[in-house]
Symmetry: D2
Subunit: 335 residues, 4 copies
């Protein structure tokens, strides 16, 4: 991926017939913008992707955008490498492979995020995505990826929090009574350890991707998700890789690295202004956004275990994993 | 350390008599600036430190500045935590402890860095610091820390390179024929795996600190230094901690963390624009300096092993460890 | 001023006897930091200044700090030039010159800003500074400069607003009923066109400087203050220079420039996200702080009239001049 | 223009028939990126524009891109407003109106900029664009706008310089003997006061737009171009507006503002590190790119005269106007 509009690798797969455009269920990617309100690399990639798929599938870009969640996170600080992951799957007879389901919410009015309405919308979309995947029991959900509209200046982190709470509600990880607007960015004890949420100015409706286990999907891929207690939680990161069937002693050995299919993580500059008792400076830097700090740091720790900079790490982890921490998910091909 | 002018912790030690100002040999610290040309947190800290020591020792600040190297690196990106390390030691009868020696070069004319003159100056200062430590054999040197004047706009990285080459020359890690101006920032195969160099606008002469093994120093501290092949070299980092007598499985266990006395590292945004084959974006970001990217990333990987954000990590690692990599040093109290 | 710790120009004046340290009433300066929470250039300058004055006056730095307001604003974006202005004055017989008065409020507890308490504290300090200047009638006040503690993360702009409201209350420019906490950063129709406020982490109590007209001050200096309707208000800027007795057609001619003694301005990124109907991007830039944008822009417009980059321009102009605009003050020597 | 991919205003004009896609000769725009190597807002806009024109004109986007120069400059710091200017014109019988001509150079190999080859390529393209406009005498050229490939890391400013030198050579503003690679970014006494050059990663070949006077173009538009001696040259800016038939006392009065059709400027952070004898900090700021500083400052001065933030101001003015200064061009509708 040479730049945010570069979809040539996917074009190659579609052109050669190695991949059928119709099988694409979702795209998750990391582009090299600043990850904030004025990060237009996400919109640029999305436009490029939809033009490509539109030509390949012979359908209008708008129709594809309404069917394929395209979750972009900007910011490839430090050793992180711009990349995108294409989730393509067809249900299969029999069983027990990695299931994927997607859903879209209704169009969102400007500013209508970070509130009870968003929580309800995202919860409904999460349930719809579970149904789409064929997952009935929330316990079978490994990871929910949510993307919501940014809402406008000052609302971005509220929107992330609202999206997270909505999915947590649908999974039963946060009780319905507690999953309220008033708790957003306030009661950080409320969280799901398997929800990853983000928000962007280029998004007009809530988009949800559910990954988990269900009958009727081709086997061969494993997913493991682990909560991290803070941005230094090396043991949790290793555990996620091991949970997905890889070694991590301390890192994934070169011979196994090609089996890594996706690494997704959420993290957060600790609001206590300290990590393990030592003062950090992420939240008071006028020149460098706190989330850029965080992505560079957490992304590098994960990449040092993976041996690969293609890590989808996204800041703004409120209600996604323990406060000050977050979560990490690894999808790997079975040995 | 609440801010770059906060030397209250040291003031406490001096006030209580726990530390004698006269025993202070060197100070190495990490302040929360941007680490670049317009990072004045280094000068602010140095001024604050010298005022404190001046009052405590009853000597002029200028005289202290000419005797005590004060090596500051700006930039506490990500999980890094502002801190300073005070090296205080008195020679002791008998043997084999961690030795420290220091030396200053002559005043440097503006712009007189990144050239053969600087290489010669720093080599001479390195030899003087070895002598000050009582180290005769370069093989007994564990780490040389160099700080040189920044030289002016556009010269900062050249000055770092020149300082590194000078120390490498003195150690015999780079042959005299090769340690020339023309090789600076050009032939990256020339390096020492035990030299850490930096440069700053607040520095007016080359300053060198040598750490190693020599008779006549109080035992009780161990140092281990390891080269890193790239910014993801988790195994090398663990090895340095283990070399200093600590566990690292994967991280230093909480019960051992108080034995960590200092962690120093150098790293570099890989000039190939790739880390392990994947494109990074550190060197083409107009908004975020490449060294800030690097410190955030490498610092976090080291901190994740240490379990502590107080890591002195400094960018600009030309001729300090392998190209694209760097080195890491750990000083720990013996068990 | 070569760097934020450089007070050599003032040292020269004190050393030669051209200026008596005891005559110094206040210092206002612009240092080359980022102007935000982690801008330590202000503290560095203040420490350097106090050490100098302490030696010159033979008094403790702490005692001087409690008597001489030292108002620093970080950020010399664009053509702005780091500089500081020393206000030294002795009352004289007779009269009608430029009067100066100063006052300090009580120590402020962390976070105790942006509220009714701060408004009351600053109003009281403003009245005390007026009394110190010998000004009884608020109509004789030309400009009030306020500096308050930053309060902590997220509070900086609230503190600026609270300081402005307090001074506006004392001047009668905002009625007592309206000058309330609830109006801060909310009702921008409440403002004084002659109050300039700022806040900083290095400040521990409110500091106020009043400039105006009163009997008993040496004549020879004029001050003119003008509200600006927006950051493009070239006519208002020219009017301020003319009001202080200078030409401005379109700029101050070279022969008059040495008569400029001080230029102070406040401005604000327009909260409507537009300037004169066109969208600006200052308030949604993740990489570049809105106030840095604003200072670069407004500072350049003023400097283009002055023909000089030594303009004290400070962002965060809530309640200081019209919404979206601000104010500009010029002090000049009489012809 | 709500974001860099927003071409809805142009879509409206094309849809209503107010503008014929076939009449479009060139597009010059200012997008809200950082203006540097990793500014992808230019590519995003260009992609969006070409998709729109492709649909409107029923032609392939690639064919349009090879015919219509699309010169984008990133960076709308301060009061600058994102906007684009569409140059649409048909030759007419008679008349000395504003002429436009365009030309493209051959594809450029990576890194093949900032050298004699680029100078020759751009000179040839400039002559071709003059011919396209029907301008024979270089004296009839008012402004040449050049865009070249960025060339890669570290080459961007060299590419800008090479583009400027090539056009200056074609105009005879720099003699052929002097217009050499060795002079680029070195001999700043060589310049044209009517060439505006830029470079971008999204550009694959040199693109040139020539504006001037020639028979056979519809009258009604005036252009005036003025050199600026530095970033504070308010008088030169006013002169450009007056030269285009507008008042500027000090600014363009509201009733005339709708006659402004385009404002283009180039400027430069003064390499002497001073503006009018006062130190600026643009060239030593690790957190804020020098060109971002410059655009914010110079753009605001020009906007304060125009009364409008839609100013195309671009940094990197080497060989475009006097050293430390630049040039400003205004196109206005006749009264």
């Amino acid at each position: 991926m040479a730049h945010p509009g570069d979809v040539s690798a996917l074009a190659g797969l579609l052109g050669s017939g190695a991949l059928d455009a119709g099988a694409i269920r979702a795209v998750i990617g990391k582009t090299e913008g600043n990850g904030g309100l004025n990060d237009f690399t996400r919109g640029y990639f999305t436009q490029s992707l939809l033009h490509l798929l539109s030509r390949a599938a012979g359908r209008e870009a708008e129709a594809l955008a309404a069917r394929i969640p395209c979750v972009l996170s900007g910011g490839t600080e430090g050793v992180l490498s711009p990349h995108y992951m294409v989730f393509a799957a067809e249900p299969a007879e029999g069983g027990g492979g990695l299931a994927i389901g997607t859903a879209f919410g209704p169009p969102v009015a400007p500013g209508d995020v970070g509130n009870d309405a968003q929580i309800a919308r995202v919860a409904a979309a999460t349930r719809a995505a579970m149904a789409d995947a064929g997952i009935e029991d929330p316990a079978q959900v490994a990871l929910v990826q949510v993307k919501s509209p940014a809402g406008g200046p000052g609302l971005l982190l509220r929107s992330v929090a609202g999206g997270a709470m909505g999915a947590a509600l649908a999974l039963g990880d946060v009780p319905a009574k507690a999953a309220r607007e008033a708790a957003l960015l306030d009661d950080f004890s409320l969280f799901s350890p398997r929800v990853s949420a983000s928000a962007g100015v280029e998004v007009m409706q809530d988009e949800v991707i559910v990954l988990g286990t269900a009958p009727g999907w081709v086997p061969g891929l494993s997913i493991a998700v682990r909560p991290m207690t803070d941005a230094l939680d090396l043991a949790a990161i290793q555990s996620a890789f091991r949970g997905a069937g890889l070694s991590a002693d301390p890192d994934v050995p070169p011979g196994q690295r090609s089996r890594i299919r996706a690494i997704l993580a959420k993290g957060e500059p600790d609001r206590s202004l300290h990590v393990r008792g030592q003062r950090h400076t992420m939240l008071g830097d006028t020149d460098l956004d706190a989330q850029r700090h965080l992505r560079a740091a957490l992304g590098a720790v994960i990449a040092s275990v993976a041996g690969d900079g293609r890590v989808f790490v996204s800041g703004g982890a409120a209600h996604q994993g323990p406060p000050g921490g977050g979560l990490v998910a690894v999808i790997a091909e079975s040995a």
